[in-house]
């Protein structure tokens, strides 16, 4: 479970261009469910995803993660881990082990193979390479991109890129998947395929958090909770348990 209490993120604080991207947001994201952050551009969805995904720290407020596994907290302490003021090193570990990220632009590294792109998040974990390589190949099999294992990613089509990006997000077997506008560069057919894959992940018990203003995503029957956002604030929550 992810718990946000009065989270605010202000950029360029005390400067003439001060800007509050997330304003006093309190929200609970249930485990194993699909939560959609819905709203227009500039509504604060991406910033909220970055805060939850340990990529940035809130200016104020608290973010707590429940039932996550890290090397620096024991199980007992772990029941609710406040990530708000953790040092960068710990945030990186949580980001690496707990979250899988799917970016709007896919953010795959050009020039290296699709397989290597999928293995990227696992390189610094210190895991045996043969193990995560096998896992990456299984994921490629699962997403039907095995034949592109050795191909540089620039040879792949949009749909294939999307699937490689999802496989990369899953290689460290994270509990939570975060996707930022994942269908922005996909046509309706590919967007539908993407939602199918999301459904599969959800059925595997993954917690999925998607920021999108695509009706194909937020109107999907798979969505458990849809959080409406505008100007950094929550405008409404539908489908909450």
């Amino acid at each position: 479970m992810i718990e946000l209490s009065s989270v605010t993120k202000t950029f360029n604080a005390d400067r003439h261009n001060q800007f509050t991207a997330v304003d006093d947001v309190s929200l609970t994201i249930e485990p194993g469910r699909l939560t959609i952050l819905k709203g227009p551009s500039g509504s604060g969805k991406t910033t909220l995803l970055a805060l939850i995904g340990c990529m940035a720290r809130p200016t104020s407020g608290r973010i707590r993660l429940h039932n996550i596994r890290t090397s620096f907290f024991t199980e007992a302490e772990n029941s609710a881990l406040d990530i708000t003021s953790l040092p960068e090193r710990f945030l990186t570990e949580i980001r690496r082990t707990t979250f899988g990220f799917i970016f709007q632009q896919f953010n795959l590294v050009k020039g290296i193979s699709a397989l290597e792109n999928i293995m990227l998040p696992a390189y610094p974990t210190g895991e045996n390479q043969a193990d995560f390589r096998r896992r990456a190949l299984e994921l490629m099999e699962l997403f039907s991109v095995s034949r592109h294992a050795a191909s540089p990613v620039e040879w792949l089509s949009g749909g294939e890129l999307q699937r490689v990006a999802i496989a990369r997000a899953l290689v460290n077997n994270p509990a939570i998947i975060i996707a930022d506008e994942p269908t922005a560069h996909l046509d309706s057919k590919l967007s539908g395929e993407f939602m199918e894959m999301v459904g599969n992940l959800k059925s595997e018990g993954k917690t999925i958090l998607i920021a999108s203003h695509d009706p194909l995503v937020y109107d999907s029957v798979l969505a458990d909770t849809v959080v409406g956002m505008r100007d950094g604030r929550i405008t409404g929550i539908t489908g909450a348990a």
């Binding site: 990186t92 690496r96 990220f101 953010n107 290296i112 390189y123 610094p124 460290n172």
Partner: protein, 378 residues
């Protein structure tokens, strides 16, 4: 394998494939880097080998040489000086020496003419250095014509040619008999170029030299140690030219490393952002860049040093021997004996591999300190 070792091996693996995808850029980096190391290492090997060569050959030099000075210039010394010097306590022997220079106008070359002390050649015969043989295009039992100071031709038969192992010193040498030498330069009998003095106890050499200078105020005793020092400074002077070449090479390296340091492309910056966003720590990115730098610089260092070794010791430093060896048209041709100065190579290693690796890491470190959410906004 344990986790930290796995992490290193995984990141090293990735850095290799990362280097391969910018093949042309990294290959050109490697070539330039190798070339710089090659030039510097060649110079180091070359100078060390020359110094060693000279030291080896001068082992046989006399303990002391006594020259007579007239008006501050080196002049002929009478044989009578030698008799009195040999009477000085501590002096084992005194050998009068005859030597001089001869300029061959036809071939435009300078030769060193010397009367051998140990095994003198018969009048009418000569022994020559390999450089003279090459220059004159003659071989053993051929005739060589020299012009005497009276403008008469002196016909000499080549008895033998010195082996090329001692060519650095013997290249321009012509060994002839005392009679022929005197005929060449019209020397009065009983006059020598200088005297070679042997002193049994090395500690007494300075005292003996002082006594000689006192007995014959018009003489200049030169100790072997002084000759060695002169040779050393001669090579050091040549080392001066080497310093110029070295400075150019080091400067090229600095420009090259600076270019690398400031040359992190937008794509590389973006990649670093991606790596950070998917869970790479700043230290992981630095480790990646460290391995990239080490792979390039170590390969260049090792290749450059090996090529320099082959160049200097197998091809006699063919690329710059004309600039650095010999001072007449007769260039010595000899194979240098391999000498490796570990200290200088270590200095070279620390002055090249470390700055280059640092130059690779620093811009990456600057790029890697961007917040990980930057990739989400790109």
């Amino acid at each position: 394998m344990n986790i930290p070792l796995n992490r290193h091996s995984n990141i090293l693996d990735f850095s290799l494939s990362s280097l391969l995808r910018r093949k042309s850029k990294n290959l050109s980096l490697l070539v330039v880097y190798t070339l710089i190391i090659f030039v510097i290492a060649s110079l180091i090997f070359f100078v060390q080998a020359l110094k060693r060569e000279a030291a080896q050959l001068l082992k046989e030099a006399p303990d002391m040489v006594v020259q007579r000075m007239v008006a501050g210039r080196h002049d002929l010394i009478p044989a009578a000086y030698g008799e009195k010097i040999s009477a000085i306590r501590g002096v084992t022997s005194v050998s009068p020496r005859l030597w001089g220079y001869y300029y061959d106008q036809v071939f435009g070359a300078n030769y060193t003419l010397l009367v051998a002390e140990g095994k003198p050649v018969e009048p009418g015969n000569i022994m020559i250095g390999a450089g003279v043989a090459r220059n004159q295009r003659i071989q053993a039992s051929d005739m060589l014509t020299l012009k005497t100071s009276a403008n008469e031709a002196l016909l000499l038969t080549v008895q033998g040619i010195y082996p090329s192992s001692s060519e650095l010193i013997s290249s321009d040498l012509i060994i002839l008999s005392a009679e022929d030498f005197q005929a060449m330069f019209n020397l009065p009998p009983g006059q020598n170029t200088d005297l070679a003095v042997t002193v049994a106890n090395p500690r007494e050499q300075v005292t003996v030299a002082a006594k000689i200078a006192e007995l014959f105020p018009d003489t200049r005793p030169i100790l072997k140690s002084e000759i060695l020092r002169t040779y050393d400074s001669l090579f050091e002077w040549r080392g001066g030219m080497i310093v110029v070449i070295l400075a150019v090479a080091v400067l090229s390296f600095i420009i090259f490393a600076w270019d690398k340091a400031t040359g992190l492309s937008a794509e590389e910056r973006k990649e670093i952002g991606i790596l950070k966003s998917i869970g790479w720590e700043t230290s992981d990115v630095l480790l990646l860049k460290f391995w990239e730098g080490i792979v390039i610089s170590l390969s260049a260092f090792l290749t450059g040093v090996v090529l320099a070794y082959v160049h200097v010791f197998f091809f006699s430093a063919a690329l710059f021997e004309h600039a650095l060896k010999g001072w007449s048209v007769i260039y010595p041709q000899f194979r240098l004996v391999p000498v490796i100065d570990v200290y200088q190579l270590t200095v070279l290693f620390f002055l090249t591999v470390l700055p280059y690796t640092a130059a690779t890491i620093i811009p990456a470190w600057l790029a890697a300190t961007v917040p990980p959410d930057a990739a989400m906004r790109s």
